[in-house]
Amino acid sequence: MRRRGLLSVLPALTLTLFLAPVIAGLIGTWLPAFGYLPALGGDSFTLAPWAMLAAQPGLGESLRLTLLSGFLATFLAFALTVGFLAACHGGRLVRAVRGLMAPLIALPHAAVALGLAFLIAPSGWLVRLVSPWATGWQLPPDIATVQDPNALALTLGLVVKEMPFLLLMTLAALEQVRADERLAVARSLGYGPVTAWLKAVLPAVYRQIRLPLYAVLAYALSVVDVALILAPLTPPPLAVQVLRWFNDPDLSMRFVAAAGACLQLLVVVAGIGLWRLGEILAERLGRAWIAGGSRGGNGRLARPLAAGLVQGLVALAAASLLALALWSVTERWRFPDALPASLGLETWARQAPHAASVAGTTLATGLLAAAIALLLVLGCLENEQRRGLTLSNRALWLLYVPLLVPQVAFLFGTQVLAIQTGIDATWLALVWSHLLFVLPYVFLTLGDSYRALDERYARTALCLGAHPNRVFWQVKLPMLLRPVLFALAVGFAVSVAQYLPTLFAGGGRFVTLTTEAVGLAAGGDRRVIGVYAFLQALLPLIAFAAALAVPKPLALARKLTVQPA
């Protein structure tokens, strides 16, 4: 009974663990935004920080960049996902691309952005490949392909990373809404394949992927690390600008920063609201379109177009990774050479001691955060099943809180709290800060598989007299080994990619591959950037490969021991 008692408090504990820092952080940010920060002599409430914020030069332009890149990236990722699945539903390509999505999601944003920056820059690899023989360029052209005035490079970087996430979430949702049956009915009524998907499947699937979409939108509207690498700097998008204000040597700017962080939260809230309005509008128009009964064509054009675009994005991500790897073994590679003039392992050798310690910190933090998250999630799911509860929509929203609230909007407040409790700049604070973002992803990854396990297995075992704990350990867990390990790998990948939490909670004492790579991004030596960004991308990929490879021998061993009995 005692065990059961422990299990039943797990959901509350889990929720506290990841909601408390967010709430405390928000309070610790909103108070200074209204002038309350006694450490800097602010002990009364005032609107002055907001007035100062409004007077900041370039605020309008920062907002424009944020909104433009946030909405455009989310919309493109969504349109590509829907277009691809509608055009290629059930095809071999979808299965092939699905296999590629996991490693794509695992790639940290910063690594992709760094690789992409080198790929598409005017002095980048793509131009080098065709210069000077095709372009005549002996010197790089003076055109803006990264840090461009409309943040299109940032948008591209976000689409490359967010499309795989949406695609995977949509694929999971397709199974839940019985897409194949819906399609079969629509097709039998004479609808073309693409039109059938859009009219019969999309409305049902959309409801399932709404939250992930909002998370993507919130992320795109508040991203810092990718923006630092790909977005314009004068001025930067809002989230980067807020971070700059926090770091301004003029300490009174801390109030402006706090107000800016609150504005960032409002932008995300308003952004999601605006998207919701768009949904309602699309629903109205869509209903009329569906009721209109047009059957649509055979989709012969849509298929290669959608497939080509998605394959292009995958290729871009792969080429980014390759560029990083190549730079890390480059000795000298000048424009316009298509390939390095000389290769060597000197950079790796020189960086080895430091890189090993940084990778060690990254690995330990990621494994611990993912393991804790997995324990909590398994506990919550098991508790849910034993008590016959189902996850309500509102609870799911809570789970998404750390993914919807912009990181810059609460991390400063969280930092003050961490110092107060004496855990700042400790490993505990670092792991905990990662846990905030790891936990929701582990839950989302594992939840469906856990609930989808046929309950008759467990019931049979229980009927045979097994204790629920034994059923959990000997029936459910072994059967769910693959999704469990996959969730662990996802959690690990999320931890590896964290930039701002590491910066704030780690207090500079904990350097991970992500903070190192982003920190070096402004420093210019592409060979060193290559080493750290490549390692940063490599760790999660290894984790995924391990998650996929381990179950086989384990399953085999179990089969061998079970069979004789």
């Binding site: 002996q138 003076d142 004068t234 424009f335 996850l391 003050v416 190192e516 592409r526």
Partner: protein, 409 residues
């Protein structure tokens, strides 16, 4: 299922209010212990040194310092690599906000200019302490006045000088034959070579230094820049020439002045790629060292302006709540030792000029410096031209803000 615990909210608000309430200016105190006492207390301490970590050579030098102080003083040095020194200032401030008056997470900060001015003004620094460091007395105060006056703000013993910086320009002789000798000549050069010059976006310190160079060189009375920036009307009058110069220069820059590189290493990369023809540096040996590291072609050389360029000193300081103040002082002293200064000035390591006075050294110590190699792109000391003084930090703050207002929107 998942339940919400309402009392949590109120608990957190209470905790946070206490956190924010526990504060007040820190107490400053002169270091009165003797050097042997400090060295003894430092034994076994771990010093967290918060220093900009964007340059591999500097990081390697700091690692070398770590080996040396462990061997000599049993002090463990941990380099906390910052993207921006202001991060450490933020951290110390956040700690004071939380009432952490001792056992702070920052022991030593690489600092100068406005960060120092801000920390000094907010009483966030330990000391005065430099007077007890033996090697401090070897510093060249006479010919390097910026070792005592940091951007016109007196150091008052709150920071120990570490190295010297002087603005210089890098160019590729393969593409540029004649270099401009002054700020007005640079504008003419840019007009003749549109899109081939740029500078890092302020508040990057090299970018801000470029603005100060323009301001100082074009000012009718540079002396006024040594005092705090005046009221708006006078500020406008003094800086009018700066803005009209930049208004004329920007359309001639890379990307028509719509975008700027993030930092000087980024611009060095652009010089190497051929995106622009010039780069800026605060370190006279940077070009040579970058050539040695395969980061620039060996055709790169450096130049300075005829009437001089902006120069300053960079320092190390200790926060008021440092956990290992003694260890930090031991490290600060070692950084000023002839041995450490000579290794630092070697262009094959870092090439950062010394703060020491050759006249105060014994022949053996002097030889450490005289035997250093001279890089192929490094100007000898007598060709580096006069040093222009840094304006008061308030000018920089105002100019950076005005630059943002005018050009970053």
């Amino acid at each position: 299922m998942i339940r919400r615990r309402m009392p949590l909210f109120s608990m957190l608000i209470a905790a946070l209010a206490t956190a924010l309430g526990l504060s007040g200016p820190a107490e400053g105190g002169t270091e009165t212990r003797t050097w042997p006492e400090i060295v003894a207390a430092a034994k076994g301490q771990t010093v967290y040194w918060n220093a900009w970590g964007g340059d591999e050579r500097i990081n390697a030098y700091i690692a070398w310092v770590g080996d040396q102080v462990r061997e000599r003083y049993d002090v463990t040095l941990v380099h906390v690599k910052l993207a921006d020194t202001a991060d450490a200032v933020s951290r110390v401030l956040a700690e004071r906000a939380a009432g952490k008056k001792e056992g702070g997470s920052v022991d030593l900060i690489w600092i100068n200019g406005e960060n120092f001015a801000a920390m000094k003004q907010q009483h966030l620094l330990y000391g005065p302490f430099t007077q007890v460091l033996p090697n401090f007395h070897l510093v060249d105060f006479a010919d390097k006045p910026s070792t005592l006056v940091d951007f016109t703000v007196p150091t008052d013993g709150l920071e120990a000088p570490w190295g010297m910086a002087k603005l210089n320009f890098l160019y590729d002789t393969a593409r540029v034959t004649e270099t401009p000798g002054s700020i007005p000549a640079l504008l003419d050069w840019a007009k003749a070579h549109p899109g081939r010059f740029t500078y890092p976006a302020p508040p990057n310190f090299i970018g801000s230094t470029f603005l100060k160079q323009v301001l100082t060189e074009l000012a009718t009375d540079p002396a006024v820049l040594q005092k705090p920036a005046p009221d708006d009307a006078q500020f406008e009058a003094v800086t009018a020439r700066l803005w009209s110069y930049l208004d004329a220069l920007h359309p001639q820059l890379w990307r028509g002045g719509d975008a700027f590189p993030a930092s000087n290493p980024a611009q060095r990369q652009m010089l190497d790629d051929g995106v622009v023809d010039m780069s800026l540096s605060f370190n006279p040996a940077e070009a040579s060292s970058a050539i040695a590291n395969n980061l620039l072609p060996d055709t790169v050389r450096t130049f300075v302006f005829d009437k001089g360029t902006i120069g300053n000193t960079h320092f190390v300081a200790i926060p008021f709540n440092a956990n290992a103040a003694e260890g930090a002082m031991v490290v600060a002293d070692f950084l000023m030792s002839p041995k450490a200064q000579a290794v630092k000035q070697n262009p094959e390591a870092w090439g950062d000029p010394t703060v020491l006075s050759m006249a105060k050294l014994d022949p053996g110590q002097r030889h450490l410096f005289e035997s250093l190699p001279q890089g192929i792109a490094t100007l000898p000391p007598d060709k580096l031209g006069p040093t222009l003084l840094e304006p008061h930090p308030t000018w920089m703050t105002r100019i950076e803000a005005e630059w943002q207002r005018r050009y970053a929107r």
